[in-house]
């Protein structure tokens, strides 16, 4: 499945172990994975480059939660493909969608990492970069 190693992926995750797990999982999909531990860092980076996908944890270092970061991302890029990858359960609620913006929700558990890879892989289909 080494279709397109040109995907630029941003991963916003403050736990080092999870960072490594995600990197390993997405390794075959992309040469370019940038890691951030805070929402603020990710937002700053967005001013410089536009990723194909953002994998976003909800609990981050810094002052912003994943959802709050998402809100700012959406203001800049309404169509950017974002996967909210979190141990928090049931984040895919009406309230969250209307308060923060749309996202693809994936709960962190044993089977989640393989699914993360699929979701990122298919992000090409929805990529706002044409």
């Amino acid at each position: 499945m080494n279709r397109n190693k040109k995907l630029l992926i941003f991963v916003v995750e403050d736990n080092l172990i999870y960072q490594q797990l995600i990197a390993k999982q997405l390794d075959s999909l992309s040469y370019a994975i940038q890691f951030f531990t805070q929402g603020e860092e990710c937002i700053n980076a967005l001013k410089v480059s536009l990723p194909d996908v953002i994998v976003l944890d909800n609990s981050l270092a810094g002052t912003m939660s994943g959802l709050e970061t998402l809100k700012v991302i959406r203001a800049l890029h309404p169509d950017l493909y974002v996967v909210l990858f979190s141990t928090d359960k049931a984040l895919d609620t009406l309230e969250n969608y209307s308060n923060y913006g749309s996202f693809v929700y994936l709960e962190k558990n044993i089977t989640a990492f393989a699914r993360l890879k699929d979701k990122v892989f298919f992000s090409e289909v929805f990529s706002s970069k044409v």
């Binding site: 499945m1 736990n15 999870y18 609990s59 609620t93 089977t111 699929d118």
Partner: protein, 582 residues
């Protein structure tokens, strides 16, 4: 078949009456022009011969009307009975064909049988469609208005379809952006009927490539939202002429399409009508050889009700998952028999274990797609069995979907099952539909895991005196057999976690509860990723209570426990992973 004759007779009568009525109307008009001030009253006897003709005319009018109504009624009854009479033998054909398929057949015979089944299924669909179209056109179709969970309904419809598509070698992507807990008021049956129709078409006309299903929602007003669903395929597509003809309601047009593609031409027409009835819309974009994209939208009002999973047995195709091999560990008894019996009727192969221990032995020996474990078993309960399974040396087997069968419905227990490593749970008593639903959603997940599985080597070769406090399932899963990667992760844990503990302890000593909560939050991720299940609850409790500044007196003992277990884990990991080098 007496109905055809009856209708013919009535139609003839009707033709005669129409003729008579026309003549009567003409006569009436002439009368009205000639006689002023005279109002003809039906049924009253009048002496004048002129009046008699008028009255006769009125009466004939009434009779003609009655006959028209009777004809329409007869037609309706005819259709309903016809479809009923056709459906019964067709279900018979399908049922026997199913039994025949289980006998030993040559490949050619299997193919013929498949064709018979396909043709019969198609015919059934057409019969249903004809009846529906009739109802819609006459405005007789009643829409339900019940609360239901949209995502559940759509998921069930899509999942059984995914299996058929994969059998055909097509890729399927289901991208859902509708919240899982959204409950709306509407007609779930018609929604899935529309979706089914569209998916069937996509499947029928696509030989290679993929089918992408996306759902999303928009808000129309504060309590009304619009669900949008798109099905995009890489199939044969439609030329402009066909595209135009697709919505034609005349049977002649549709039979051209039917003949050319062998498809269910009525389908899309029904969809459009059904959607119109629900104030929705349908649009198609298509290019020959480039595939088609069908988009439909339906408005719904939001329901305040919170429903637990709704079962809709009529919609489920229990044969839709194909042949799977399942292990059930349940203590002997009626339930034991029923569960096995139900799944066998779906075409599954079911093995029974009478307890946790036996289940483990059987899992080692054979290859299964899924395990059902009763939580309460005497010598080894479901939770203990789950933990043992997740620690199995064979990574494939260790990650098998495990569904816990529970009799209690308490929330806390659910956390326990999931943290023990179960993939899902189901509370007894459960219906066939519910069992199917839970199995379906866990089986599909497993398909995606298979890409990472390679033959695994033993990671825990050293005998450890204490029960193993960590669980490397998640890390093993991601590593795909890469031992070095696993070692790297463990090393990372051993290096970084002591510092986290130190900070947690310091903040607690200082009484800085906000920071205690933050540190616990940080540790939570690490504990989860390393599968230290026994600390699952504790670290969350500390995070929560420290933040809320409640029950602060309990925190020190919890933190103490966290320290002990983590240090113990470090020791165990060091011995098991870091040291053995040969």
């Amino acid at each position: 078949m007496e109905y055809t004759a009856k209708i013919k007779v009535l139609e003839d009568k009707l033709a005669l009456e129409r003729k008579a009525r026309k003549a009567a109307e003409a006569a009436l008009r002439r009368k009205e022009e000639n006689s002023k001030g005279l109002s003809p009253v039906v049924g009253k006897k009048v002496s004048s011969p002129k009046r008699l003709t008028e009255i006769e005319a009125q009466q004939r009018l009434l009779e003609a009307n009655t006959i028209i109504e009777e004809t329409a009624k007869a037609k309706k009854i005819f259709l309903e009975n016809m479809s009923h009479e056709i459906r019964i033998p067709m279900h018979g054909i399908l049922g026997i064909a199913g039994l025949l398929a289980k006998t030993s057949l040559s490949e050619r015979q299997h193919n013929y049988l498949k064709l018979i089944k396909d043709a019969t299924s198609n015919l059934l669909v057409i019969v249903n469609d004809v009846l529906d179209l009739e109802k819609i056109v006459n405005g007789k179709l009643k829409l339900e208005r019940i609360p239901f969970k949209i995502v559940d309904k759509i998921s069930i419809t899509v999942q059984s379809f995914i299996y058929q598509a994969e059998e055909k070698g097509l890729g399927v992507i289901f991208q859902n952006a509708i919240p899982g807990d959204l409950v709306v008021l509407g007609d779930p049956f018609r929604l899935s009927q529309v979706l089914n129709n569209i998916l069937s078409n996509a499947l029928k006309f696509t030989e290679q490539g993929s089918i992408i299903i996306t759902t999303s929602l928009q808000f129309a007003a504060s309590d009304v939202l619009v669900i949008e669903c798109t099905v995009k395929d890489t199939g044969v597509g439609m030329s402009p002429q066909i595209l135009n003809g697709v919505f034609e309601s005349t049977i002649q047009r549709n039979s051209t399409i039917l003949r050319k593609y062998g498809g269910k031409g009525l389908g899309l027409n029904i969809c459009k009508n059904l959607l119109k009835l629900q104030d929705g819309s349908l649009s198609i974009q298509s290019q020959e050889n480039q595939g088609s994209t069908v988009t439909f939208k339906v408005p719904f009002s939001i329901s305040e009700e919170k429903i637990p999973e709704i079962e809709l047995p009529m919609e489920i195709n229990y044969l839709g998952l194909g042949k799977r091999k399942v292990l059930v560990a349940e203590e002997e008894g009626l339930n034991h028999f029923i569960t096995k019996h139900i799944m066998e009727s779906w075409g599954f192969e079911v093995d029974m274990a009478t307890g946790g221990k036996q289940a483990l032995i059987m899992l080692q020996r054979d290859q299964y797609d899924l395990v059902l474990l009763d939580i309460q078993m005497t010598e080894m309960d479901g939770i203990a069995a789950t933990r043992r399974i997740r620690r199995m040396k064979d990574a494939d087997k260790a990650s098998i979907p495990i569904i816990g069968l529970t009799t209690q419905g308490l929330k806390n227990d659910h956390e326990l099952y999931l943290s023990a490593g179960m993939s899902d749970y189901l509370s007894k008593p459960f219906s066939e539909a519910k069992l199917f639903q839970v199995i379906t959603r866990n089986l599909i997940h497993n398909k995606t895991n298979s890409i990472n599985m390679e033959t695994n080597k033993a990671y825990q070769s050293e005998p450890i005196p204490y029960p193993v406090l960590y669980d490397l399932s998640m890390i093993n899963e991601v590593s795909g057999g890469d031992e070095d990667f696993v070692k790297k992760m463990v090393a990372l844990f051993i290096e970084t976690v002591p510092q986290n503990l130190k900070e947690l302890n310091s903040y607690m000593d200082l009484g800085d509860w906000d920071m205690v909560s933050k540190m616990a939050h940080k540790l939570k991720s690490t504990i989860d990723s390393m599968g230290i299940h026994s600390l699952n609850q504790d670290v969350r409790t500390v995070e929560h209570t420290a933040k809320k500044k409640e029950s602060l007196e309990n925190i020190p003992s919890l933190v103490h426990n966290i320290n002990i277990i983590i240090m113990q884990c470090i020791k165990q990991l060091d011995a098991a992973i870091m040291q053995p080098v040969r």
